[in-house]
């Protein structure tokens, strides 16, 4: 029989990480992510993993990257102010192709903002927060069970693509409790860490599978532009490196995309949502459908690389796309770009720290489509 459990979002994140084999956590306390850290502090030592309370978020992400190079499946969790401090490390993880997971439970910002109020204001920062062109994968979740699954997905994608993966939660999801079926061991796929094969000819540590250091292949790891053995380069080899590490993610948008599509076939309007807003969006779309309105729902769980293809392939019946977000307009710009003028795209933002309601979302759709069935 499947185990049912009343779980908090942050708990699901911590247990999802452990399910995925996370054996290193370093972090610095911050609302609304602290429970993830507290659970890791309790669970990791008794499972033989390593927990470290670092002196700040810069040290946290740096230790996570160091641990990954030591061979660990490593993660950290934080919220806006700490996420800002981690950008330096995220860039280093990107250029060194270090698999690691960074959870950002978003709170209202900028700055200290409203620590206990939810927002989706870190979307662009998650994608573009560190300087320079760079690869990163950004995931999100809307339900507690989702948080568990997307945390496992984050570890898998980090491993597969050798990139830092950012999982965006928010204050509401982090702290809400839901009864979920906890995945059984083996139920979700877990992609293991590659290990150097004993006795095999050493292969270069960059451009292929990840090799932890200290297992007999001596190379260098650096944030400088580097060759396949980690030694500094300039000019065309630097360009080749940048194009390779960016392309390895951007060209795989289809494979990396996690999403749910509902009622799209005959839809005249589509609500595009992600994260905690998927909940009122689902209710809104269900309500409108029950009234006979042809409204579809697209729930994005991968925000980056942006799944352009979903929008290119929208049915031609779609004339209106609504993007409700807890910000003043972030992902909507990507949606607009991907829709490319084939339908009217509109943003619905809420930034008082509270969640959009199904009525607000449904109301906006009706304002635009009318009650016409």
């Amino acid at each position: 029989m499947k185990t049912q459990q009343l779980m908090q979002g942050n708990e699901a994140c911590a247990f999802g990480a452990l399910y995925a084999g996370c054996n290193f956590y370093a972090g610095y306390p911050i609302t609304p992510s602290s429970e993830i850290m507290e659970i890791m502090a309790r669970e990791l030592p008794r499972r033989g993993g390593v927990f470290l309370q670092a002196e700040d978020e810069i040290a946290s992400i740096s230790a996570v990257i160091g641990a990954a190079w030591g061979g660990a499946r490593a993660m950290t969790a934080t919220s806006g102010p700490g996420f800002s401090l981690m950008q330096e490390g995220i860039g280093y993880a990107a250029i060194t192709e270090t698999p690691c997971v960074v959870v950002d439970s978003q709170r209202w910002g900028p700055s200290t903002g409203q620590p206990t109020k939810a927002a989706q204001g870190d979307v662009m920062q998650a994608i573009w927060g560190t300087h320079g062109d760079h690869p990163v994968i950004v995931l999100t979740a809307g339900h507690v069970r989702d948080v568990f699954e997307m945390t496992v997905a984050a570890f898998n994608l980090a491993e597969l693509y050798r990139v830092p993966v950012v999982l965006l939660l928010d204050e509401i999801l982090s702290h809400m409790r839901e009864n979920i079926f906890v995945p059984e061991p083996g139920e979700l796929e877990v992609i293991p860490r590659s290990r150097p094969v004993n006795g095999a000819k050493p292969v270069a540590p960059f451009g292929g599978p990840f090799i932890p250091l200290g297992y007999g292949v001596r190379f260098s790891v650096t944030g400088l532009a580097h060759d396949d053995w980690g030694f500094p380069v300039e000019g065309p080899p630097a360009e080749r490196l940048l194009r390779r590490i960016v392309e390895k993610v951007w060209s795989k948008a289809r494979e990396i995309a996690r999403y749910e599509a509902l009622y799209l076939d005959d839809a005249r309007a589509v609500v595009v949502c992600y994260g905690i807003v998927s909940r009122p969006a689902e209710s809104a779309v269900e309500a409108l459908r029950s009234e006979g309105l042809k409204v579809g729902l697209l729930t994005l769980k991968t925000l980056w690389p942006f799944p352009d293809f979903l929008f290119r392939e929208l049915p031609t019946t779609v004339e209106y796309v609504l993007v409700p977000e807890l910000n003043l307009g972030q992902l909507v710009r990507e949606v607009e770009r991907a829709v490319g003028g084939r339908a009217r795209v509109e943003h619905l933002g809420r930034v008082d720290g509270y969640l959009l309601t199904p009525e607000q979302i449904a109301g906006r759709v009706v304002e635009n489509l009318g009650r016409r069935v």
């Binding site: 499972r47 390593v50 740096s62 200290g214």
Partner: protein, 271 residues
């Protein structure tokens, strides 16, 4: 094994990466050599040593050494090294940093590493200036000295890295100079063998910037200047800067305490 010949040193160098990026006359090469000698004397295998560098002229050291090399971000070398050592306590981890790297931007990580006592060896190349970025003021620049950002003479008091490390609780604290190679390699050896967080401040020379802006850029004179400024026989912190080992007192080490904790909780299986 005590090594002497060029061929013996070459074994530990990535000779195809030479010459180093350092200016002619820079003191850093002497530290590089003393480090190799210390590692060789301890018979450490190259595969079990990790050298982690920060950003700066000094931070480039790992590229020339044939160990597991990690070149990190400015100020964070100790934090990266912390992650490595926590998951791989069997490796010997040395961290090479500049003075700006370790006690300006990395000051927070430095004092916490001293306090936390993870078995790392921090080697601080103190040239009293920011070399890599062209000779700006460092938190170790002495009063009155000129740099590109203190051209009228420095009015800030400097950190004494040894006292800082002692105050923050490091178990092994020493100071050497590039003038005294023998003493330096001896200190580095003891630091590497020390079980716990070890700090070695190495007074080194930057003729290109510090020397030039302070009216003597002759590398030989600068080396002798270090000799005149320091006193190996002095146990107290008097007029001259004392050099030698100021503390060598092992205390419970973090990765060992952590291992005991895991054992107590019965979690030894994973890792």
């Amino acid at each position: 094994m005590l090594i002497h010949t060029a061929a013996e040193y070459d074994r530990y160098l990535r000779t195809q990466k030479l010459p180093t990026v350092w200016c002619p006359g820079c003191g850093n090469g002497i530290i590089l050599k003393a480090f190799i000698r210390a590692v060789a004397a301890l018979n450490l295998s190259q595969d079990e040593v990790v050298v982690v560098g920060g950003i700066g002229c000094s931070g480039r050291t790992p590229f020339f050494l044939d160990f597991n090399s990690v070149h990190t971000t400015h100020g964070r070398a100790l934090a990266f090294a912390t992650g490595i050592k926590l998951v791989r306590p069997e490796l010997t981890v040395a961290v090479v940093m500049g003075d700006g790297d370790s006690v300006a931007i990395g000051g927070n990580h430095f004092i916490h590493a001293c306090r936390r006592n993870i078995d790392l060896t921090a080697i601080i190349f103190n040239n009293m200036i920011y070399g890599q970025t062209g000779g700006q003021l460092a938190p170790t620049t002495l009063p009155g000295r000129r740099t590109t950002t203190s051209m009228w003479g420095n009015i800030e008091p400097p950190f004494d890295i040894v006292r800082l490390a002692l105050g923050a609780g490091a178990g092994f604290v020493a100071r050497g100079t590039v003038f005294d190679f023998e003493q330096l390699s001896e200190i580095l050896g003891q630091a590497l063998a020390f079980k716990g967080f070890a700090v070695v401040e190495v007074l080194t020379t930057c003729p290109t910037y510090f020397g030039r802006y302070n009216s003597n850029d002759d590398p030989y004179d600068m080396l002798h200047g270090l000799k005149d400024r320091t006193d190996p026989n002095e146990a107290t912190m008097a007029e001259k800067l004392p050099v030698g080992i100021f503390r060598n007192e092992p205390r419970p080490e973090y990765t060992e305490l952590y291992r005991q904790l895991v054992e107590k909780l019965g979690g030894g299986g994973q890792r």
